[in-house]
Symmetry: C2
Subunit: 202 residues, 2 copies
DNA sequence: AGTAAACTACACTGACGAGTTTACTTACTA
DNA sequence: TAGTAAGTAAACTCGTCAGTGTAGTTTACT
């Protein structure tokens, strides 16, 4: 790899780390240069402004997070187990450093510039990318009975976020792994209590 | 009212408004002074530092938000109606300017200083102040069947927050009043599907 | 080896913000 | 109505930070 490319990577890595730790606003370009073992001038040769660097990092983070493993409905398997698999995968995403890193930066920025929220808010992330189709198939299969699938999907994901993600994002008390298993079980129990089709043909 | 007291009020009002609009970090003391029609020196005569002013405003906001109308369980009334009343009241709180104002300032700060979250996170707010007792009474009355009451209360409140509060806080799409009524109905339907005691003595 | 592109250190500009100082004026109170 | 408590405008210190300019060095390619 050329030196120039390596420097670029170093700068991105340094900036990401610092933005994550302290927030974009509290990270100076001097700090980034130092952390990247690059001169400030080199930083500016690669990224015209701090804003450009910031956007580049957001893009970077999004790409890494977007690789979600789609889980499709299978009529043969136990529905509860399938939902548990989805919840576990989503919970892993919500807990991952990559995701939290991105979230901190993005949420901070969203509180400041509501335009950003409008711009990003529509991007479905994590299991929301396939959950609605999954539920639709389960409904078609008479395993579930749901009127408003979009809403049901949100109920599922919002609960995961509320218990797993927000506590980490804001620094509230974080559930232990044992509690987390419990939480996922309870969320699914509630979801099935509401939406399981009890008059299904056996 | 003495001029001195009036100035104090003006400064608090100006600071609150600006903190709300732009975040505490992006509001300068000069701006606050100007908005309050006070000289910068007067601002500093009332509040030693920006941090002190910030704390005073937090306190102010909390006091205004803390006045929650406690709703107690009544064995005579329909449980669903009672839960709806609680949800409506909570939703009104979550939508209120006072609450959103405070939340914006606090959440912004929490993303930056996780210590603040630990400090504030334990304060139960809104219906969380009485919901657990309410549910406990409903359980005692055999109307509900709940193992973990604290968790169930969170499930209830977290869903309200996810659908009503966070969209407003971050600038996502906000549900219409009609949708909101629907949302509350659905949340309660899910809650009752999970926790209603079907083997209750009639 | 020679050249161009990219890197480096470092000093610099210009803006902004927290908090202070000064010299002066206005408002309350005894 | 005299004195003091509080307010005012404006200039000032000191620190930080985004971004630039310069002169010299290193890297990579031919």
């Amino acid at each position: 790899m050329k030196l120039s490319d390596k420097k670029r990577q170093d700068i991105l890595a340094a900036a990401e780390q610092l933005f994550y730790k302290q927030g974009a606003e509290y990270t100076s370009m001097d700090q980034i240069a130092k952390q990247a073992n690059a001169s400030k001038r080199t930083v500016y040769n690669h990224f015209e402004t701090k804003e450009v660097l910031f956007q580049a990092i957001l893009l970077n983070m999004f790409e890494r997070v977007e690789a979600v493993n789609t889980i499709s409905f299978s009529a043969d398997m136990d529905l509860k187990q399938q939902l548990t698999a989805i919840a576990k995968q989503e919970s892993d995403l919500l807990k991952s450093d990559n995701f939290l890193r991105m979230a901190r930066v993005v949420f901070m920025q969203m509180l400041k510039q509501p335009e950003l929220a409008k711009q990003l808010g529509n991007n479905k992330i994590g299991c929301m990318r396939f959950l609605e189709s999954f539920l639709q198939e389960a409904v078609n299969n008479d395993s579930l009975k749901i009127d408003n699938i979009e809403f049901a999907a949100k109920q599922f994901v919002y609960q995961l976020k509320s218990f797993i993600f927000y506590p980490r994002l804001y620094g509230f008390e974080i559930p232990t792994p044992a509690q987390e298993t419990q939480i996922i079980e309870e969320i699914i129990a509630m979801f099935l209590a509401r939406y399981e089709n009890r008059s299904a043909k056996v």
